[in-house]
Symmetry: C2
Subunit: 244 residues, 2 copies
């Protein structure tokens, strides 16, 4: 039977989602470890998004094929009993045999949280990046508007790839909350470190180092060095994976 | 000049609010340390609530007398620069010379967060207490109603005192949120560990170990052993201190 897992994690102490050799702690590795114990044999899971080291998730999705007599709720309880407290399985649901968490995803939502007044966000400090310099939010919004739509985002990708780097960005929402500027990105797919580079670039626009008008030039260049810095992993959270 | 500080903290790694001798880390001790450095001489602050070891605060209030040329915003920036990241000074405001954070407080709001589905609250796990057994919330609400008003809360106090143990509880709100049962207490003052004992008692009602009708008996007894267990510190947060 194929199961769909929805997963939360505090990524602080992990080397990211993807299993690595040796004892490097990863989210995928931890979950596979517990599932393999449940199944009595090695089990592999497929995650929808390979979040980087230090990135968090509220709604990561994975699928796993399991031969078990346990009900989905029992599988969930087993996982939550044996997983560390910084990983939580929100739900386990039977899925169609053809369901693949990554290949069937039609989009993802990420949010990047900047703590403009970190002293007001002590409890959430591990999920935000402090940024106390002034930011020109209207300029950032103008730049964000120029990023929307289908583009080759090679300039916003930390890795050269032979595969297509064309993606569609459907929404970039900037919310000014008390002591926080929250950037929410919705798109059909994101390249390696793309959200962090988009955020670093928008912050450079907000702080006057780049003009919004440079966005088309950066896109056109298709070279990483044209875009802004990579914002730290700690402020990034995979909020939701979208399916049709 | 007398200043009023509003303070947030993650109490996890502290032995509570109140300064202790030696190197035991306390919130008051940390803040006094930084203020003493600013003032160039020992400074004492008065906190409105002496939260226990492991208890958190979103709106603790303290006052401090300081001789300084710095503006309130500069004092705040100085404090937030030198304080550890689990303590945040939300605001510093000039106060009347007679203002005393504890003596002038007319009430406090605390909340106690029970994680009924801890896997849904991975990010907030340090500010909640897991409770996955079923709870009869209507019975808890009935018991909560019997606690409202002015009573001698000696049974809900972890320490014998010669001072009056009469307090007025104005509100106990129970909110069923996704994966959480949140108890919010508003009253004119709280005895030592009172919120945690109230919570432990209400949870015992919710799990059928006590009947709501026992509340008047517990109050009448004026003995700690009649009430329920002391709920763990980790789930408790001082939300707000009320002034007229």
């Amino acid at each position: 039977m194929n199961y769909r897992l929805t997963i939360q994690y505090d990524g602080t102490r992990y080397a990211g989602w993807q299993r690595q050799s040796g004892s490097t702690p990863t989210i995928q590795g931890k979950i596979e470890g517990v599932l393999s114990r449940l199944a009595g044999k090695p089990v592999e899971i497929q995650g929808a998004g390979r979040t980087d080291a230090g990135v968090h998730a509220l709604g990561q999705v994975a699928n796993v094929r399991l031969d078990t007599e346990l009900s989905p709720e029992e599988i969930r309880a087993y996982l939550n009993t044996y997983l560390p407290e910084d990983i939580g399985i929100v739900s386990v649901a039977p899925a169609s045999d053809r369901f693949h968490s990554r290949l069937n995803a039609i989009g993802k939502i990420y949010c990047y949280r900047l703590a403009t007044d970190p002293a007001r966000h002590v409890m959430e400090r591990k999920y935000m990046t402090p940024w106390t310099e002034p930011l020109d939010v209207p300029a950032m919004e103008q730049a964000a508007g120029l990023l929307l739509g289908s583009h080759d985002f090679q300039s916003f990708c930390a890795r050269k790839s032979k595969k297509s780097t064309v993606r569609r960005l459907d929404e970039i929402r900037l919310e000014q909350l008390p002591g926080e500027l929250r950037l929410t990105y919705r798109g059909n797919g994101f390249l390696y470190q793309m959200v962090r580079i988009l955020t670093g670039t928008l912050v450079e626009v907000g702080s006057g180092q780049k003009a919004p008008e440079e966005i088309p030039v950066i896109l056109e260049a298709r070279q990483r060095r044209y875009a802004g810095v990579t914002a730290p992993a700690q402020g990034l959270t995979l909020v939701q994976v979208l399916y049709s």
